[in-house]
Structure formats: structure tokens, C-alpha cells
């Protein structure tokens, strides 16, 4: 048992934790934008799947990883448009719309995978880039500064999202539309346009989240590659109280527990690993139960906006 907590293993766990947080960060921050504007998009997992597929397919056939990333973003945008059309323009019940979007993405990505790729193949994905100077710091450098570019991107997104949300007019508009759409509308803010923008931004980021799985972390595609990670990302938005920093804390907590149980399996620690696999989910439920604070929730969350209704 003593070797479980040896230095190389601890470094290994923490390095994996940083890596594994990547898809959660992209997807959850994207979802935070959508929810702050008042739209719960439960279809994140479906968007991630088609994003992951598109990125993998394009990268496999062109050899260009950036083209793959671009493809995932475009497909994510299209899925975001579809979700906006149904939940904003057609004012459909958001929970069910999201489930429909998830089923659609799950089916479509499986279908396209079977037709165009067929068997599970691997590609050479984004390679780790050791940052100059920082990467040479012992231990810290190994944990934080020897990752692939999409991993750095995910962590750079956190301050960027905070800045957009807190310091720009757009962020203010998104928040106002989520808090009090009628008031925002009366001040000349187009509620629908802001919601379209936010949901589509969420879609693009969910696409990137999927791509980060298929061409940066796992470097393969198979049916249901995400295995529900998109739903966890949605949970992380609640956990993080709709704040990028809180979301990052949640994503890291979750990915650390996950990395820990993966390493337990690798090291062959038999009995606890069965329970350890469930740990991240138990933890999320516990975290949701502890952190629920209804006051912080965007007031118009899950409510379609119609002029003349208060």
C-alpha cells in the first residue's frame, strides 16, 4: 500500500487530474454562458459526441488536428443553433429539448462513426508542449506545464470567461437576460439574440470539449465516447454557482477523484476500486446537496421569454 502515495504516483495523479479536467472545463463554461442567459442546455453530451466525432474524422483524413478542432467548433455551433431554435424561438420545454438533442447527437455520432470509420482507430493527437522555464520547475512543472495545447486552452478559458462575464457589456447583457428578461427587453436588449448567442457559444465550447477528448486526451473515437461527461459538466455549472472560478474548482475536484481511482486501478488496488469508480458521482451528488443556493440561480433559468408575460 505504501507505494500508492509515493511521489511519482502523486505527481501522476495530479498530472492526470489537470488533463482530465479539460473537457469538463470547456463544456461547463460553455453551459454556464447558456444558463446565465436563462437556457438550460441538457444536450451538452450529445454536442460533445458529434464534436468529438467530427474532430476525429477530419483529423484522421486530413492529418491536420487544427482542422479537426475547427470542424468540432462548426458542428458545435450548428447544434447550438438547433437548440436555440427549439428552446428560444419555439419556446419548448428546455429539459426535454436537451434530452432530444442528446439522443440526436448520440445517434448521429454512432451512425456516422459506423458508416465512415467502422472500427476503433487511434491517431496521433495533440502532443504535450513543455512550456519554457515553467516546464523545467521540478514537480510543479511536470504537473502543470507539460500538457498539450487544448489543456492549456481550457485553463486560459477560465479567466477569459470571467472577464467576458464580469467586465464586458456582452456579459452584462447575458446576465440581465437571465435575471430579468422583461426588464432587459424594455431597455432595448434583444432577449432572443442574446440567448441565441449564449447557447451557440455553449455549443461551440461543447464541440471543443468533445474534440479535446477525441484528438487530445484519448486520441480515438468510439460510440458514446463521452460516457455522460456532458451531464457531469452541466452538474458542475450548478456546483460552481455559475462562476468560471467555481466551475474550475469543481472540475478539478471531480477530475482529481477520477484520476485517483484510475491510478488505483492501474496499480491493481483491487477492492476499493469498485467503490472508487462510483466516488466521483457520489461526490457530485453530495456537492450538489451542499452547495445548492437558489438565490444565486439566474432568475429566468429554464423559462422561455414571451413579450407581455411577466
Amino acid at each position: 500500500m505504501s507505494d500508492i502515495f509515493s511521489l511519482p504516483v502523486v505527481i501522476g495523479i495530479l498530472t492526470s487530474a489537470i488533463r482530465l479536467a479539460t473537457p469538463y472545463l470547456y463544456a461547463a463554461i460553455g453551459e454556464a454562458f447558456a444558463q446565465t442567459s436563462g437556457v438550460v442546455n441538457l444536450g451538452v453530451d450529445g454536442i460533445m459526441l458529434v464534436g468529438a466525432y467530427s474532430a476525429f474524422f477530419v483529423a484522421l483524413n486530413t492529418g491536420n488536428l487544427w482542422l479537426g478542432m475547427l470542424a468540432a467548433m462548426v458542428v458545435g455551433l450548428l447544434m447550438g443553433l438547433l437548440m436555440s431554435l427549439i428552446s428560444v424561438t419555439l419556446k419548448a420545454e428546455q429539459g426535454i429539448s436537451g434530452i432530444g438533442l442528446h439522443l440526436f447527437g448520440l445517434g448521429l455520432s454512432s451512425l456516422l462513426f459506423k458508416v465512415t470509420i467502422g472500427t476503433v482507430k487511434t491517431i496521433v493527437g495533440f502532443q504535450p508542449v513543455k512550456l519554457p522555464l515553467l516546464g523545467d520547475i521540478p514537480i510543479i512543472g511536470e504537473i502543470f506545464f507539460q500538457h498539450s495545447l487544448p489543456v492549456y486552452g481550457a485553463f486560459l478559458l477560465v479567466p477569459l470567461a470571467w472577464w467576458v462575464m464580469e467586465k464586458t457589456t456582452w456579459g452584462l447583457k447575458i446576465k440581465s437576460v437571465g435575471q430579468n428578461p422583461a426588464a432587459a427587453d424594455s431597455l432595448g436588449v434583444s432577449v432572443n439574440r442574446v440567448r441565441y448567442f449564449s447557447v451557440c457559444l455553449g455549443g461551440v465550447l461543447a464541440g471543443v470539449a468533445g474534440a479535446s477528448l477525441s484528438i487530445a486526451l484519448l486520441n480515438l473515437f468510439q460510440e458514446n465516447l463521452t460516457a455522460g461527461q456532458g451531464f457531469i459538466a452541466v452538474a458542475l455549472v450548478y456546483f460552481g454557482g455559475w462562476k468560471p472560478l467555481g466551475i474550475m474548482a469543481g472540475a478539478l475536484l471531480f477530475s482529481t477523484v477520477n484520476a485517483f481511482q484510475l491510478w488505483m486501478q492501474v496499480l491493481g488496488v483491487k477492492i476499493p476500486s469498485d467503490i472508487a469508480v462510483m466516488l466521483p458521482y457520489l461526490l457530485t451528488i453530495a456537492a450538489l446537496a451542499v452547495t445548492v443556493n437558489r438565490a444565486r440561480q439566474p432568475a429566468a433559468l429554464n423559462k422561455p421569454f414571451e413579450r407581455g408575460e411577466s
Binding site: 441538457l42 438547433l82 419555439l90 419548448a92 420545454e93 434530452i99 439522443l103 448520440l106 460510440e223 469508480v277
Partner: protein, 373 residues
């Protein structure tokens, strides 16, 4: 002078025009989805007519297809009934998958443990055990929502993941078939269940089991429960107007938790009938995604227990047809999964029109009543 209520309003006669309209939208949604499917088939270089012919013929054309469709409709209906009850209390149960799993797990363990019991006792006891297990899996998110305000959509998703991991580890451990251990195949499945717990077959030489009848009876019971009992009335009241319900002294969170618990129980039963009706053992992938497609069936049946019956049959036959189509024209059955998603999007997307129509009808009725008074 204040209006005096001289008599209770009569229950309105069945409004066939309204029922027709409500059935029309979903039918159009399926038609539109099939059209999109046809375009996709053309893109996949398959003949859409041949594909759909194989699908419909395979699902409905002979005894084998028809009974298979009914077998798949059974868990869809059971899950769907739970979704309907939850939805009526305006809670969304995404936890069907996990609830099916624990229902299946519990019924497997129960019937293997009490294998000496006679069938007339073992079958109902096993079903009850699975119902209770599913209900517990629904109760946990329910009580978390009622007491702590935890979003049920997220907690049920987590409960799905926990249920799945639980099954995986049990099937690779204590529940693994001793034979698979003995001949070292280590297949992740349970031992075969004792024969007296197998649900009787309705049509010999087919998979159609009496679980289908049980599901039908439960659909009627669910209708009676929701529309003819006080608890059912309160569940619906909570869903229609939580604020008014609160004023009326109904404890809204408790009824929402109850609805989720019942939804879990129904999904748990779906797991039971899959185990004791179809496979006679617990296998990986026991849910076949019914936890999600049951939502589609419920939604499609206008969130009404009776409406869920034809809806489940429709989707059961779609799933069977998808397999037949895959074999006939070599198009992956995932095409149908995609179409299911599109159907959901169309149905919820078109609800705007049915809501507007309902609003229009209410105002028209009110005017005509005023005029008549």
C-alpha cells in the same frame, strides 16, 4: 351579486376534435423525422423505400416481428408511465436507466436467493423487490430535491452512473455466473434464474411474455391513480400550478418526491420484466437505453398513461424495425436512434402551437359561456 355555484360542473364529454388534434402533432413529427431519415438513407446510398419496407415489414409483418415489437414496447411503457407521473408533478426523471438497472439487479438477486419458493409466490415477490429497488433509486433524488433543492435532472443522471457502476462491479464479482467462473469464460452475466420465476409466454415459440399484460394493466391503474385518487389529483395540481397548490395546503416538495419515487418504481419494474421475462438472467446492457427512449414514448403519448400505450408500441416496433433494416439494407440501426432524437425535438418544438391553440380555446370557451349566461 356574487355568482352562486348551484351545482358542480359536469365532466365534459370526450372532445374528439381535441384528441385528434393532439394525436396529429406527434404523428406529423414522426412523419417529418421519417422524411429526414429518408434523406439520410439516400446520402448513405441506400434505397429509402427498401429500407422502410424492411423496417415496417420486419416489425409488423409477421408473428415474430409483431411479438418482438410488443416485447420491446413493454419496458418502454413501464418506464414511460413513470415518466408521465413524474412529469405531471413537473419533475423530469432522467434516471430511468439507473432505476431499470437496480430493479434488474434486485430481482436477479432476489429470485436467485429465494429460488426454492414456488412460482406463484416468487414472481410477485420478485417484482415487488425490483419495484422497491427502483423506487429507492427515485426516492433519493426526490428527497434531495424536496429537502435541499437539488436539481433532479442532475441527481438522476448521477444515480444512473452509480447504478451502472454498481451493476458492473456486481456482475464481475458476487453476481457472476458460477459456471462462467468454473469454465473460466468470466462473462459478465448472472447465473440463469430458477425456471419458476420466468414469466409465462403468451405466444409459444416467441419471446412475448405476460409482462406485456402487466404493463397494460398498470397503464390503466396509473390513469386511475392520477385522475381518480386524491394523491393523484394533488400530484397533478402540483404540476399545473405549484403556487396555487401551496396556497391550498399541498406540500409541493413531498408530492414531487413521491412522483419521482413512483417513477423509479415503474422503471425498476421495467428492469424486472427484462430479467424474468426476456433474458432469464442479468446481462450487461440490460437497459438497452429504455430509460431514455421511455421518455420519448411518454412525451409522444401526450404525457398521458393511456396515450403512452400506442406510443410505446410505435417506438417498440421502430426499434425492432431498425434491427431488421440494418440486416436488410446494411444501414446501422443508429439511424433510428438519431430519428428518435429528431422526433423528440419536433414534438417539443411543436408544443408552442398546441399551447397557443389551447390558450385560444380557453378564451373562446370563456366568451361563449359569458354569452350564454
Amino acid at each position: 351579486m356574487a355568482p352562486r355555484i348551484s351545482r358542480l360542473p359536469r365532466r365534459p364529454a370526450l372532445d374528439w376534435k381535441d384528441i385528434g388534434f393532439r394525436a396529429l402533432l406527434p404523428a406529423l413529427a414522426v412523419l417529418a423525422a421519417l422524411l429526414i431519415g429518408a434523406v439520410m438513407l439516400v446520402l448513405l446510398k441506400a434505397n429509402p423505400f427498401a429500407a422502410y419496407a424492411a423496417m415496417i415489414g420486419g416489425a409488423l409483418g409477421d408473428v415474430s416481428g409483431l411479438t418482438q415489437s410488443l416485447v420491446k414496447a413493454t419496458p418502454l411503457l413501464l418506464v414511460g408511465l413513470g415518466i408521465v407521473i413524474a412529469f405531471r408533478a413537473s419533475v423530469i426523471n432522467i434516471g430511468g436507466e439507473g432505476q431499470i438497472i437496480v430493479g434488474a439487479l434486485m430481482s436477479t438477486w432476489f429470485s436467485l436467493t429465494f429460488r426454492d419458493w414456488p412460482g406463484w409466490l416468487l414472481i410477485p415477490a420478485t417484482m415487488l423487490s425490483g419495484f422497491v429497488a427502483g423506487a429507492v433509486w427515485g426516492f433519493i433524488p426526490g428527497i434531495l430535491k424536496a429537502r435541499l433543492g437539488v436539481n433532479e435532472i442532475l441527481s438522476t443522471v448521477m444515480m444512473n452512473a452509480i447504478g451502472l457502476q454498481l451493476m458492473n462491479s456486481l456482475l464481475r464479482g458476487p453476481l457472476m455466473d458460477p459456471e462462467a467462473v468454473a469454465n473460466r469464460t468470466f462473462l459478465a452475466q448472472s447465473a440463469r434464474l430458477p425456471e419458476q420465476v420466468w414469466l409465462p409466454r403468451l405466444v409459444p415459440q416467441t419471446l412475448l411474455h405476460s409482462g406485456a399484460l402487466i404493463a397494460l394493466v398498470l397503464a390503466v391503474l396509473a390513469y386511475v391513480f392520477l385522475w381518480r385518487t386524491t394523491i393523484g389529483y394533488r400530484i397533478r395540481a402540483v404540476g399545473l400550478n405549484p403556487d396555487a397548490s401551496r396556497y391550498a395546503g399541498i406540500r409541493v416538495p413531498i408530492y414531487q418526491a413521491l412522483a419521482l419515487t413512483l417513477a423509479g418504481g415503474f422503471a425498476g419494474l421495467a428492469g424486472v420484466v427484462e430479467v424474468i421475462g426476456v433474458h432469464h438472467r442479468l446481462l450487461e446492457g440490460i437497459t438497452s437505453g429504455y430509460g431514455f427512449s421511455g421518455i420519448v414514448a411518454a412525451l409522444f403519448g401526450s404525457l398521458h398513461p393511456i396515450g403512452a400505450i400506442p406510443a410505446s408500441f410505435l417506438f417498440g416496433s421502430l426499434l425492432v424495425g431498425a434491427d431488421k433494416m440494418q440486416r436488410a439494407v446494411q444501414v446501422p440501426s443508429a439511424l433510428v436512434d438519431t430519428l428518435l432524437g429528431i422526433v423528440v425535438l419536433f414534438v417539443v418544438g411543436s408544443s408552442l402551437w398546441s399551447r397557443r391553440r389551447a390558450a385560444r380555446r380557453v378564451s373562446v370557451t370563456a366568451e361563449s359561456e359569458e354569452a350564454g349566461a
